[in-house]
């Protein structure tokens, strides 16, 4: 069932339709927020607040076709609020206690790609962790566009609509984001051999 249909059912009073909508969106939204904030507990809180806001304000959504843009915008605004709160209160997440230098240097220790299953799991986790730390170092505007395009699979026009920015700006941010990421990975002593092994 499509989002539009579920929204229509919910607006008619079917609560289960709302639950289905949450079930459909919890994974993409969780991963989107997690890649932006980089902390699971905060991600859970933000997702929860997003769904609460969705429950309260869904009636105000004029065009159900634009639901995905709408929900991403809510989540993104909550992420920005979280950043502000974090900046004002000088909050440091536990998993950020590892210094940037350490975290970036650890990127160079990429394990062998052709490892066996338990090792592969560890390897996968390590790669994810390294990429997470590298992406978190990007400027927010580049990071958001990169995540939306790379991981949420949104079209450039959709991203432009969510962020209310011109299409060229979005593409430019993505270009510079990818370039910066490459630079971060290179500066982190990630040797070319390891990278080429990954690629």
């Amino acid at each position: 069932m499509t989002d539009k249909k579920l929204i229509e059912l919910f607006l008619k009073g079917d609560i289960t339709a709302f639950n289905r909508l949450v079930w459909c969106w919890e994974k993409p939204l969780f991963n989107f927020v997690y890649r932006i904030v980089g902390n699971k507990e905060t991600t859970k809180d933000i997702c929860q607040m997003t769904f609460i806001r969705m429950f309260k304000q869904l009636k105000k959504l004029r065009d159900p076709e634009k639901f995905s843009s709408w929900i991403y915008r809510i989540a993104l605004n909550l992420c920005r609020d979280e950043f502000k709160k974090k900046r004002n209160n000088h909050i440091v997440y536990l998993d950020e206690l590892l210094s940037d230098e350490e975290s970036i240097n650890s990127i160079g220790q990429l394990p062998d790609k052709n490892s066996k299953t338990p090792e592969e799991t560890y390897h996968q986790k390590q790669i994810s962790e390294l990429l997470k730390r590298a992406i978190l170092l990007l400027p927010e505007e580049q990071k958001v566009v990169l995540i939306m395009k790379q991981y949420q699979g949104l079209k450039f026009t959709e991203i432009a609509e969510i962020l209310k920015e011109p299409l060229s700006t979005i593409k430019s941010r993505l270009y510079y984001g990818l370039r910066s990421l490459r630079k971060i990975l290179e500066e982190s002593k990630l040797n070319e051999e390891a990278l080429s092994n990954e690629l």
Binding site: V22, E26, C47, F55, S168, R179, L185
Partner: protein, 226 residues
Amino acid sequence: MNCKDIKENLVSMLYGELEPDKAKQIQSHLKTCSSCRQTYKELKETVKLLERWKDENPEVNFLFVTEPASIWKKWGEKIRQFGWKTCLALGIPMAAVAILLFLAILNFRIHYNNGEWNLSFSLIPRKEEIDQKNEFTKALTELQKETLLLTSRMIKESEYRQKQTFALTLSQFAQNLEKQRQRDLALIEHTLQGLNLSTEGKFAQTNKVLADLIYLTSYTMEKPNQ
């Protein structure tokens, strides 16, 4: 197309969002420009590396909005979920089993015989059980009647005895009272007689003293005249 304008088109091409005509132009530019070619290669490598960060499961139930739905609504939803045919195919046998079990529980029996436990239940109570129950009820009723009769007799007997005892006690009391009265009268009579005798004696003495006194007085009065 110059190298400065190409960056936007490179990312579009990277994600397959470039029109075919423009893609051809970019391709031809990349063939001639080694710098842009290198940039595109690096971008492609970075994107491929980013793909290694897979999505994670949230492992949390974010929100579960429930409404106080009525039982009928819930059943209605379940019927809609499973379909009428499935519900009937499962529901009828389950309902039948439930009814049979309910009836069976009414005649549920646990027996203990020579160290063995026996568990049994039946839909209809056994004939000997019914007869036994009827006989027991009859015997119990008769016993109750007899007990009632005996109790009423005992009460009557007790009342009669109580009356007799009371009458006897009352007559004995009256006799005693009469005897006491006779004794009291005799005592009073005797006392009065004693008192009478004593008074008469004292009267005689007084008369004698008075006579002596009168005589003495008259004698005394006559003597000066002489």
